[in-house]
Subunit: 329 residues, 4 copies
């Protein structure tokens, strides 16, 4: 008889992006994507989308180089947190508990095989709209912003990995991630990229090949706007505002989401999601395995093929790519 | 300490609609909404959307009057099915096992307090695209249809209930449904309508007040197209094809989904969903309770208020409403 | 042999709206619809959309009551202006030349039969984007604004008329307007509403019945956003910002444009156009004559029927309607 | 004093495309783009879009090689036709009158400097919907089709020219075309591509450089669907149906229209227009002159740069490009 699935992680709660241009990054997310600041503290700003209820889904922290500070997942219960901490500790990857981060209670830290820092927690703080910022909708935490092309919520992020299969197996075994789609070497060979979720989204996170020697890198973070028109509007706005667009609008084969990829001023790649694509409800879903020879269709079903930079640039960047990719001097 | 949530139901698998005009209903769903027939058997036709993998998400069965035949949910595992059957039996509402329905394995039947028939099952059949109907996408079960405004998947359904609170409490306690939003009598009074889900959708099903003495009625079934433009296109097509539109396009407050309501030829109300609205990821989500005095905003945030028929017509219909509502002679 | 058409008017150049809440109206158009101010002078503000090249398409003037100050059309040439002035003078409706209005050269004033003030002119001033406001597109006069749901251009306006046929005939004979669609009393009776254009738009202006004894009233002015999604977004924003929505989103039968009608803070009805609908290219176009019995389809093809206020409220308002229509105390 | 403009051409009435796969081309336009056949005669089929009133806007004719048969423009009046014929004859490019083409009266033929065949005419036949195909809208000639992604109307076409400036000057002087935008050699040098119109569209036709020694070639013909969502939907459908997509969705800088370019089965490049972009109303519009160094922005404002094939492939094709461009064996 099949083992029952581990359902202890509820969803991606927030990510921390490192940025060498904190004020530029804050302006990008608030003025062009419509997030609002819920707290500033030291070298960090905490932001949320108008359809999000937690204290923050995005933490921006000043740093010498762009990249991922950490990603944090909320469990389904206190008991679920305890179970996952035990599993992580058993895996030997645990780092221990932290306290005192604004926005949530005790969190347990650990590192992925390729070095990215993650956290899981249960207790969370909810943000309240300041006076005059409440929505007319009881189920909308903040009033729809007037500015930019507002995104509704953090959607997912992609990481690079040297050992995609090993990382995927760790995520599945220890945390309950289900693999939804994968790119494999033709002839049912090893997996070279993997899309995984703990929710009904086609992916809450993905693993793509690490092109260089670096460890712990972020490929991109994605926020959901919810309509294809938003992609055209955001692309128009980015062109006007000098934000470099890497690719899109287009539709991925994998996940069938529509996309626009840009670089925020700190140098991190940001995806805006239009159509959220196909949700996954089937509890016995079998991984859709794309042979690498079909990568062009898997990567882009509608639109032009991905540029080379998509496979080569991640943050923190290898030096030669940064200037070109983000249009910096 | 809080009890851990019951997570045994995976999702809504299919619904059976009764129709006095089987061929008309089949034509509506295949030619105007892009479903395809996977099997015909006796007085029934089995249909699926092009983005769905199971044998069917819609069963159409000839009957004297329109209405809900049954709704069926898939569990997350065989063990989960056994647990839920035990819970249903303990509730005294169980009817027993059935075998032999095309498309899935043994299913356990039971009735809601207001009489609607439901089933839960684990074993399911997958449909394969016939030769020449395969998609270019490995993750799309059938080729995108050429005809109509194709919907991607069954989304949810609404039922009428004389005892909304009792039905909701049964669904929560016995099956693990989480209430996402509700309309309550002002002053924190009793719940008169309730939106519930076992997935990340804002609702997999909802309970609205039963306006008459009838039992076991269907308010509507909803299929997701995924874009607002589809609502305008489908409304245009329905006007041309003589399909009566009840309301929309517009956006609900509850769930923040966009909608178009029409009547299929058998007389059942069908919703096409455009923007799927806000997903629910928070595992400690507290029901958004709309005072009945705010019902207009809860019902329609963008667009004109719902017509009286929306609150009065369900299937099988009270006699006086049918002719008017579906435009029949 | 048919007479050749008069082609002397090029297009609607601008309208002047009167407002008892000048600052509120300016804020509405700049912050929510994305117009920018090109000049302020005395009791007036001059505004343009980001895709417009002239000094202004909208003049807002402080006044006791809302309504139309004037509408102004640009001719195709200086000679065309002279020809139309001669024709107006011959009609007995001319008022004479004015000089010195910001944004254009000498203009000839005249009044429609029901009292609305119009002007025609040839010489026009172009606006230049201030430093830092230039677009990356050479064919876009101003950078796409960051704020609100930006409209591209003034589209059309509707006036009330006691004598629709007489006014239409004056516009056709004296100025060369072509009637595109009309609502007529059944049985090929008199015209009760008329849509006319000098461009390829389905209407540059329209005449609807004056419901009361008033003269010189404005039914609405319309700005084009260009997408249906903008209507949903603008409706969302208006709900949040306390702007009263009268109707929509929906699609008119006449013109096949999509619409949202709101009231700006001064009390004037403003339409946002989504899909610009069907253009008219046929030089021998025969008026599409809708029998009044088909008015519901002519008025709204997709969406709910127009509310009573649509036929009863115009500006300046009859006293009883104002408070209700614009939500004022 | 400025000369008055020539306003004798009303609009593009139809184009004739040559195709080596007549049945394939007919199926493409009817099943995937929603045109209907109004007449078949000999080696030709005549088609119209559901929002078009004339007998046809597209003639498909069997031929050894793809390309443009001819393009035909309707004048604003019989007198306008006589004036333009006189001007063409004076230019030395006239070929004389033809009679008897289905769908319109006498037409005057002439050739552009690079060899493309054009016609102008005044008398036109209107098509009536067959029984059961009438729309519920009095202003819509045919019922909205159920199939494919229906386009509303023929929009424009592009031709290649060896002498862009000379051809443009001929079109302006003889026929009254106004140049809206152009690409020029930097430093205000000669024009290498030109977009012209006789309507309020940003272009009814365009001239792009002829890359080879060939004469009389067609770059593409464009049909307007009217929404950006249609581009995503059509791209999805084309992928499924094996229609080769060359580029898009994206937005041009010039005209600010959104686009998808595909190859119909006969080998001609077909553009689907989504957002019709910015209309031109200014009667003293000055050509927007894009320096060739800004061609990337002029060509694509939103989306990936145009592929090499866009500049190299036209019909009839140079032999080496055909197979690759249309995916033929």
């Amino acid at each position: 008889m099949d083992a029952e699935p581990v359902l202890d992680l509820a969803h991606l709660a927030h990510i921390e992006l490192l940025t060498p241009d904190l004020e530029g990054s804050v302006a990008f997310f608030t003025e062009l994507m419509g997030l609002h600041i819920t707290e500033r503290s030291g070298q960090s700003a905490y932001l949320a989308c108008y359809e999000e209820r937690y204290h923050h889904s995005l933490k921006l922290t000043r740093s010498d180089r762009p990249g991922l500070g950490h990603a944090a997942w909320r469990t389904r219960s206190a008991a679920a947190l305890a179970r996952r901490v035990a599993a992580i500790e058993a895996s030997g990857r645990g780092r221990g508990w932290i306290e005192g981060e604004p926005g949530h209670g005790p969190a347990y830290q650990f590192d992925l095989p390729n070095g990215q820092r993650w956290e899981i927690f249960w207790e969370v703080d909810y943000a309240s709209a300041p006076d005059g910022q409440a929505s007319g909708l009881l189920n909308r935490p903040f009033r729809r912003p007037r500015t930019g092309i507002p995104v509704r919520r953090l959607d997912h992020f992609n990481l690079t990995a040297k050992d995609v299969e090993g990382t995927r197996d760790f995520l599945a075994a220890t945390l309950g991630f289900a693999e939804r789609e994968a790119v494999v070497v033709d002839g049912n060979g090893p997996t070279v990229a993997s899309w995984l979720s703990v929710t009904n989204l086609s992916h809450d996170m993905a693993l793509v090949p690490e092109p260089g020697p670096a460890a712990g890198r972020l490929h991109h973070a994605c926020f959901c706007a919810g309509t294809n028109e938003a992609l055209f509007d955001f692309a128009d706005l980015c062109r006007e505002e000098g934000v470099r667009i890497e690719h899109g609008p287009g539709r991925h084969g994998i996940g069938k989401t529509t996309f626009l990829y840009v670089f925020e001023p700190g140098g991190n790649r940001i995806e805006m999601l239009g159509d959220p694509g196909a949700l996954v409800f089937d509890p016995s879903w079998a991984t859709v395995r794309w042979p690498a020879s079909q990568l062009p269709v898997a990567a882009v079903w509608t639109g032009t093929g991905l540029p080379g930079s998509f496979w080569e640039y991640a943050t923190p960047p290898d030096a030669p790519y940064l200037a070109e990719a983000v249009g910096a001097a």
